[in-house]
């Protein structure tokens, strides 16, 4: 089941809502638009992981590694750090490295895709649980490297992080500066909203097309029963690698955008908890079902942040034990347990088409 609009006017309605949304939010304060921006990035991450987990059935618990790779790639290419560490490069780039958006996006996608295939390769023969643990291991290995590659050569600057990172520019206008349109002023966060929205829409488009194609069907066959899929002539190894690579590329692009948006990155942002949260978004939303995945991402990304903004009193009450990060973790944990117990197929799973066929056997 894909995304379908019952009529053209419904599509227009969505377009208007999505475009006007940040303008409404910004009147309440930029913090709210920030939440929307981060939610969009998480939607992108969830869509990418959905290709791996939802379509191909490969439980990847180390997905944040690709987010990190994209972020660090952009961070290195768009901050003074690399040139400071390798003065020889200064000669080539005397004005510093300032890459355009159109260069960064494909680079991040390709780098992440490459690593996706690389990290996926050893897992091809593994079954569900083992696959999960090994991918988790990979995610941790990447994080440890990010944290420790400040010696002997300082590549990542370790726990101190990389910064300041350039903002991206669109049509010559750097998104870190507000845009004055005369009748309305668009702050930086709103500009980023539109960029991220565009990327998310492209992602949805790609996923939707892939889902309803020969390759999408082959992925789902692998998810359902890999042995039977092979028996039908499907080359599971190549298709799994493709799923890993394609899913990873979404993560890489999201990571690069994250680095540009924040202006600063450090290994802390790329922990196991992030991987778990993205998995939760996909599974709790509705595995393999695009609307469900988007819903899951928005809920898990936005809700804790919204709570953070309104939960300050709660924090006072409990003497600092309930800070927003804790609240978010609690929420995710309870959601994971609760939803698996009550709605194991997710909040918005793919519909059953005809509910029951004549002569249905008891489930």
């Amino acid at each position: 089941m894909g995304i379908r609009f019952t009529s053209k006017s419904q599509a227009w309605l969505w377009a208007v809502v999505l475009l006007a949304f940040p303008l409404v939010l910004q009147s309440f304060g930029n913090a709210w638009v920030r939440i929307a921006d981060m939610s969009l990035l998480y939607v992108m991450l969830a869509l990418g992981l959905n290709v791996v987990v939802g379509y191909a059935g490969l439980l990847d618990l180390g997905y944040v590694a690709f987010f990190a790779l994209g972020a660090y790639l952009y961070g290195l290419l768009a901050s003074p750090h690399l040139l400071e560490t390798f003065p020889a490069l200064m000669a080539w780039f005397p004005n510093g490295l300032h890459l355009s958006l159109w260069a960064v996006l494909p680079m991040a996608a390709v780098l992440a895709a490459f690593f996706g295939a690389l990290l996926g390769a050893p897992t091809l023969k593994l079954r569900g649980d083992y696959l999960a643990i090994v991918t988790l291991g990979f995610g941790e290995i990447i994080r440890v490297f990010m944290n420790n590659l400040d010696q002997p050569i300082n590549i990542t600057n370790g726990p101190k992080g990389l910064g300041p990172i350039d903002a991206v520019s669109v049509l010559g206008h750097p998104l870190s500066k507000r845009l004055d349109l005369g009748f309305i002023e668009l702050p930086s966060v709103t500009l980023y909203y539109y960029l991220f929205l565009a990327l998310v829409l492209v992602s949805i488009f790609v996923c939707h097309r892939m889902e309803r194609s020969r390759i999408g069907r082959a992925w789902m066959a692998i998810r359902e029963d890999e042995v039977a899929a092979r028996a039908m002539g499907i080359h599971t190894r190549d298709l799994k690698l493709l799923a890993f690579a394609m899913g990873a590329s979404f993560g890489g692009v999201a990571g690069a955008m994250f680095a540009a948006f924040q202006g600063f990155i450090s290994p802390e942002s790329f922990s196991l908890m992030e991987s778990v949260m993205i998995v939760a978004m996909v599974v709790l939303g509705g595995l393999g079902h695009l609307p469900g995945v988007i819903l899951g991402a928005v809920l898990l990304a936005a809700l804790p942040e919204v709570l953070r903004l309104v939960a300050a009193p709660l924090q006072q009450l409990t003497g600092g034990r309930f800070d927003p990060a804790i609240l978010r973790q609690l929420l995710i944990a309870l959601a994971m347990i609760g939803i698996m117990l009550w709605r194991p197929r997710g909040l918005w799973p793919s519909p059953e088409h005809g509910q029951s066929s004549p002569g249905q056997r008891a489930p």
């Binding site: 439980l59 050893p122 023969k125 593994l126 569900g128 649980d129 083992y130 999960a132 643990i133 090994v134 988790l136 291991g137 990979f138 941790e140 290995i141 440890v144 420790n148 010696q151 002997p152 042995v227 196991l272 908890m273 778990v276 998995v279 939760a280 599974v283 595995l287 034990r321 309930f322 804790i326 973790q329 609690l330 995710i332 944990a333 309870l334 959601a335 994971m336 347990i337 698996m340 117990l341 194991p344």
Partner: protein
């Protein structure tokens, strides 16, 4: 040579703790094919509960002899952990026994995070010092040193293993567990209640993990809510290393992993010409995991199982 022996001792000590936790993983997996992702947190709960217990006892009767305090703390930790694991199995895993394969794994991850978060809330996120109850002067041993705490760890592990072996091999419950692990349906037909056996498995695993938790805290001197995560993952690696579902394998895997970590972290600087240092120790476990799953997925002591169509 002295350094080498020292690292062997350290490796065996850490390896013993991995072995205790690995047994819990391997027993549960052998019976219900589930990686209990929250098992590392059971270690943490055991450790942190014992910390609280020791605090109470010290306050209530400061003259209690240290070994007694430690013993009582271990007992309390075991009871709490066992009850917790029993409850987790009953509430979160049992309803999902026939669910699609992804569901129990997600729930287990959720339980793991829940336990960590609750521990963070109840005990606050700071690192808490764990009291050293045993005398701390190291004793010389053939050129290396070993502390009484380390001796205790080795001893407690040996005793625990012996008791476990006795339970599994010589009691009715143990027979029931082995039967269920081999063939649950036939075992049920023979009158073994699967729920009872599974609960017992979780309880026993929890006891071992709690003991490991107290040992871990004694060895490293701190407790905090996140302390169970890495040991849990490494212990799982050890279980796979030795052959998942295989009890002696878990012990062998645990000890070997401890040795690999210890010796590896000692020599990694020399081996890589200074490029990598001991801060990379944690990834050894993952590298071992990847290697074993790629080269010999059934583990060192495991059997090869073909996938029947």
């Amino acid at each position: 040579m002295d350094i080498f022996l020292q690292q062997i001792i350290n490796g065996l000590v850490i390896g013993s703790m991995y072995a205790l936790v690995a047994l819990g993983y391997t027993m549960v997996y052998g019976i219900i094919n589930l990686i209990n992702f929250a098992h590392g947190e059971v270690l943490m709960v055991g450790a942190i509960t014992s910390w609280t217990a020791i605090g109470w006892m010290r306050e209530a009767s400061p003259d209690m002899p240290a070994p007694l305090v430690l013993l009582l703390a271990v007992v309390i930790a075991c009871v709490v952990s066992a009850a917790l694991n029993f409850a987790i199995e009953k509430i979160a895993y049992r309803p999902l026994r026939n669910a699609p394969k992804l569901a129990p794994l997600i729930t287990a991850i959720g339980v793991s995070i829940l336990l960590q978060t609750l521990a963070m809330i109840i005990w606050k996120p700071n690192y808490k010092p764990y009291p050293t109850l045993l005398p701390s002067e190291p004793m010389a041993l053939a050129g290396a040193v070993i502390t009484p705490t380390q001796v205790m760890i080795l001893g407690v592990t040996a005793v625990s293993l012996a008791v476990l072996m006795w339970v599994v091999n010589a009691t009715r419950l143990g027979r029931a567990m082995r039967a269920t692990a081999e063939n649950p349906r036939v075992a049920a037909l023979m009158g073994v209640k699967p729920d009872t056996v599974i609960s017992a498995t979780f309880v026993m695993g929890a006891v071992l993990a709690a003991i490991a938790g107290v040992m871990w805290a004694s060895n490293y001197g701190t407790v905090h809510h996140h302390m169970g995560f890495l040991p849990g993952l490494k212990a799982f690696t050890a279980a796979v290393f030795g052959g998942i579902g295989n009890l002696p394998g878990a012990v062998v895997g645990g000890l070997l992993l401890g040795l690999i970590e210890s010796i590896g972290s000692g020599y990694i600087g020399a081996l890589t010409g200074g490029l990598l240092g001991s801060q990379y120790t944690d990834i050894f476990a993952f590298l071992v995991l990847i290697a074993i799953l790629t080269l010999r997925p059934s583990g060192l002591l495991g059997e090869r199982v073909a996938d029947r169509a």
